[in-house]
Every structure is written in C-alpha cells, then in structure tokens.
Amino acid sequence: MNNQDDIILRTENLTKHYGGVHALEEANFTLKKGEHIAIVGDNGAGKSTFVRQITGVEQPTSGDMFFEGKQVEFNSPLEAREAGIESVFQDLALCNDLDVPSNLFLGREELLFKFGPFSILDEKKMMEKAKEVLERTAIKIPNLSNHVGDMSGGQRQCVAISRSASFASKLIIMDEPTAALGVQETTQVENIIRGLKEQGVPLILISHNLRQVFDLVDKIWVFRRGRIVGEVIASETDGNEIISMITGMQGGVHEKDSYI
C-alpha cells in the first residue's frame, strides 16, 4: 500500500471527452516522490490527453487531481508551472525567433524594474542564469544569443528540456522528448534524464521507444483506448508483456520479433 506522504501526484477517475470522443476514461494514477515512470500506449491511447489535463493545457471533463496531497485544478499551464510541474511537449513549445535565455525564461522573466506589462527585463541576469543552466545539463550551445530556430533539432530539444529541468522543483513531464532526434542527441537527452533521477526529481516520460523506457524508468503505465490498462515495475517485466498490454492481444509479439 502506498504511503500517502510519498505520493506527489494522484488522479482519481480523470476523464476527458471531446464532444462524443472519449479520449480519457477514469484514469487513476499515482506517482511517488523521486520516481521515474513511463506512460506507453499506441497512437490515440490517451497518453498526451492525460498529460494535457495534468499540466493545465486542458481541463478535464470530470475527475479529481491531487498534487502533494492537496486537491488541485490547473486552469492554465502557468498554474501548473507555479505549482512546480514542468513539461516538455512533443512539438517542443519553443519560440524559434527568440534566443536561448528568452526561451528559458519565457513567462517568468527576470526583471530590473517592475511596471506591469512594461516591466524592464534584466537581460544580463537571464543570460548568466541561462549559461549556468546549460552548464549544469552539460549542453554545448556555442552562442546563446542566436535564435533557437537557427539551431539543430538536438540543441533545440536540449534547450526545451533544460528549461523544464532547471525550473521544475517538483515534477517534470516529457512527451516524446527524443522522437525527432539522432542517436547522439538522444543519448544527450537520456543523460539529462538520468541526471534528474540522481537529483531525485520525479519524471513522467511518454515514449514509443521501449528500449529507452526500460533504460530510464522505474515503473511503466500502459494506456489503451483512453484507459489505464496496467501498471508494472520495469525490472519485473519485458517488452512482450508491455506490447500485449498496449495492443490488448495475448502473447504480444513473437519472441524472435522482440520489440526491444
């Protein structure tokens, strides 16, 4: 039985309907402090929908969410961020025409002088902090003043992940963080994730890459057709069992066609 104090995030019967489409049905989910878990499932299984509900991008049709033991309702991503939940989305959510510090601090800029929307930015401080953040994550970007749009896919992804890693005090959610990356860049991102584990920052990873999932997480949650169909310890299962749960077919894939 879970000790309630150890649980950082819990959802009860979280449901999301888009008109007649039942994208998420009664999801009961728990995440412990310091735990790294993966959410897997086929396309349309409800993984991204689930993440959108817990990060305030969308609001659930029904159900409850508890963060650090308290019931919460996030009406916007900002509210989720203020609570300590950071997300790296599938499409990066970076502004290509802004430089690295501007992307890292977007929506929570360092200020020299406060005057509502016309508050003056402390650009020097943001640049210094950006350098620190990237040094911590061992990411090499030659010129931080360059527009993010002028960088490689890997560098962009690293900026997005660094943003979350540096600001998340309590939970990081990554939706397909390496989907568009090459081998070397994927390794770099995976190293950042391992660093988060060492720091004890809990993580929810959405990935289609089962090799990566088994390498990086403690527990795997499987979604199918908008429902949670399983929760397994990564070290106590194998690719075939996960595939069986994803597809709903007994036997998964043949041994010799192993997924991983």
């Binding site: 991008v57 916007s76 991503p77 900002l78 961020r81 997300s87 989305f89 499409d91 990066l92 959510a93 970076l94 502004c95 290509n96 025409d97 802004l98 501007s102 977007l106 929506g107 929570r108 800029e109 200020l111 929307p117 016309f118 508050s119 003056i120 930015l121 650009e123 749009g149 002028d150 960088m151 896919g153 962009r156």
Partner: protein
C-alpha cells in the same frame, strides 16, 4: 575585422535607403538637371509627409510581429481626427459641432482622439482574440465601419476652425518629433520590456507562448489597442497640421504603413521585426514618392513601383523563412 553578420539587422535596409536616395540624385542630374538631395526643403517635406503614416506604422509593426495585421489604420485615423477636431474648435468657430465645448484645453481633444483610436483597436483585438476571426477580416471590417462612422459623425461635413493652440501640434517639425519620439519609445519597449518579449513570442509560436503561461488573448488585445491609439494620435497630428478634419483623411495610409513595415524587415509570418527597421522603411517610401514626383513621373507609376517593392520584400522574407525551416 569587418564581418557582415556583425552588422545590425537594419544595416542592409539602410543601405537600400541610401542606394535609392543616390539613384534619385543621379537620375535628377541626368533627367532634370537638378540635385535631388541638395534641396533641403524637399527633404523636410519628405519627412513631414511620412511622419503621419509613420506613427501608424509603429503600431502596425507590433501587430505584424504577433503575426496579425491591421488594415484599419487610415480609417481609424480619419474617425479619430473627426472626433478630436470636433472638440478642438476655437471659440469663434462658425457653425461648431459642439457649441458648448469650444476653446477646450488641447489635452482634451488629444485625449479624445487617442481614446477613439484605442477603442477601435480594442474592438479589433477583442474580435481577433476571442472569435477566431482572422485579423485581416476583423480589421477590414473596422476599416469600412470607422470610415462610415467618420462620415456619419458630421453628416459628411468637414470640421473647421480648429483652435490655434491645437493646430500647433501639427505645425513646423512637431509631426516629425511626435513620430520619432513614438518610434523611439516603442523601439525600447519592444526590445527591453516583458510586453516586447511576449509580443515576439506570440508571433513566433503562439502555442508555446500560451504554454509558457502568457495570457495570449489579453496581450493581443493590448497590442491592437496600442496600434489603434497610435492611429488616433496620427489623426490628431494630421488634422492639427491640416487645420481641418475630413472623413476622407488618411485614405490608403494603412497600406503605406504596412508597406513601410514590410520593407523595414518585419516578417509577415510574425516573430521578427524592429521599429528601427520600420522607420527606415517609412523613409524609403518617402524618398520613392518624392523622387518620382521630382522626376515628374506619373502618380500611378509610383504606385506600381511601390507595389513591386512590397511584393519583393515579402518574397525575400519567404525565402528567409524557408531557409530557416530547412535548417531546423
């Protein structure tokens, strides 16, 4: 060592500006036998002429950076000018619009002109932010409506007899000063404030801006309201300069403003652009108009060349965007 990439983004636009000015100087000596740039009075007229739509262009730059568009600048200018002028008539005005409001302190008509512009901008912004109607359509609607309201306001009659204290704002170098001060203020705001950063962020990736916690709707309304206020200010300055307000004022100014913004390097795709570029774009348009008049080339040919320059500027922008996409 001299490196092209170390130059500011506006350097190439400024080089085009200088090139065009030199071209007219050469053509002047060849075809008219006179200097184009040597005539100080001509240069003064150029800068005075462009100041009015330049003020509108400062607002339009911000709207276009958010990947929006504002087609209503000229019409909002006319409506603001009509309403402001009706509160700026002198005590001895013949057949005044509001006989009970004559000889008011100039701050009142100025504030009213700005408020009318701001209201039109607020409506543009609210429609764009809340209804999903594209800004092109929302501001096109405002263009038609504001122009019609400007006519209805005085039943088509111009507003004369503006007080001397009010017309001072349009006299001498005042319009130029207003333009440069407005441009300077918004250049700094876009570069160094949260408002500026969020304006670029929304134009660059609206979804990312929303995810980062920016209230995109509220910000868009603010940007369109500022653009409307600046059109209102342009209306105040224009009627003060002309010492009369008419509903037909500022026709096609919205297109001149958009042209200046695009020529100045602001991307129609949003996310990129600077007020300093727009100021140079405004000057380029002024030099072209004046240069063509100097060479006694028909007005319609001027329009053809302006049209070609705008299309050329957009094509360059498209190529730049495509290059960036292929790199990413």
């Amino acid at each position: 060592m001299f490196k092209r990439e170390n130059l500011p983004a506006e350097a190439s636009i400024f080089a085009v500006f200088v090139g065009i000015a030199i071209l007219f100087e050469v053509l002047g000596w060849v075809f008219v036998g006179k200097s184009f740039l040597g005539n100080v009075q001509r240069l003064e007229i150029i800068i005075l002429q462009v100041s009015i739509f330049g003020i509108i262009a400062v607002g339009v730059t911000q709207v276009i950076i958010t990947s929006g568009i504002d087609l209503s600048g000229g019409a909002v200018l006319a409506l603001s000018a009509m309403v402001a002028a009706s509160f700026a008539q002198s005590v001895d005005a013949f057949a005044p619009i509001f006989p009970q409001f004559l000889g008011l302190p100039i701050i009142i008509p100025i504030a009213i002109g700005l408020a009318v512009g701001a209201s039109c901008g607020w409506i543009n912004g609210s429609i764009t932010a809340y209804t999903g109607i594209p800004p092109f359509i929302a501001t096109l609607g405002m263009l038609v409506t504001a122009r019609a309201v400007a006519v209805i306001y005085t039943e088509g009659q111009p507003v004369y007899s503006l007080s001397e204290s009010f017309t001072v704002i349009g006299s001498g170098a005042w319009p130029v000063l207003v333009f440069f001060v407005v441009a300077m203020i918004f250049h700094l705001i876009l570069k160094h404030t949260v408002y500026g950063k969020h304006t670029y962020a929304i134009g660059s990736n609206e979804k990312a801006a929303r995810v980062a916690g920016i209230n995109v709707r509220r910000h868009k309304i603010m940007v369109y309201t500022i653009a409307g206020s600046l059109s209102g200010l342009a209306g105040v300055v224009m009627c003060a300069r002309a010492t009369i307000a008419q509903s037909g004022m500022g026709t096609m100014y919205e297109l001149d403003a958009i042209s200046a913004v695009v020529i100045g390097g602001t991307s129609l795709f949003g996310g990129r652009g600077r007020i300093s570029g727009t100021v140079i774009g405004v000057c380029i348009l002024g030099v072209i108009t004046s240069g063509f008049t100097f060479l006694r080339i028909d007005f319609y040919y001027q329009e053809i060349v302006k049209g070609m320059i705008i299309v050329g500027a957009v094509m360059l922008d498209q190529r730049r965007q495509a290059k960036q996409r292929s790199r990413a």
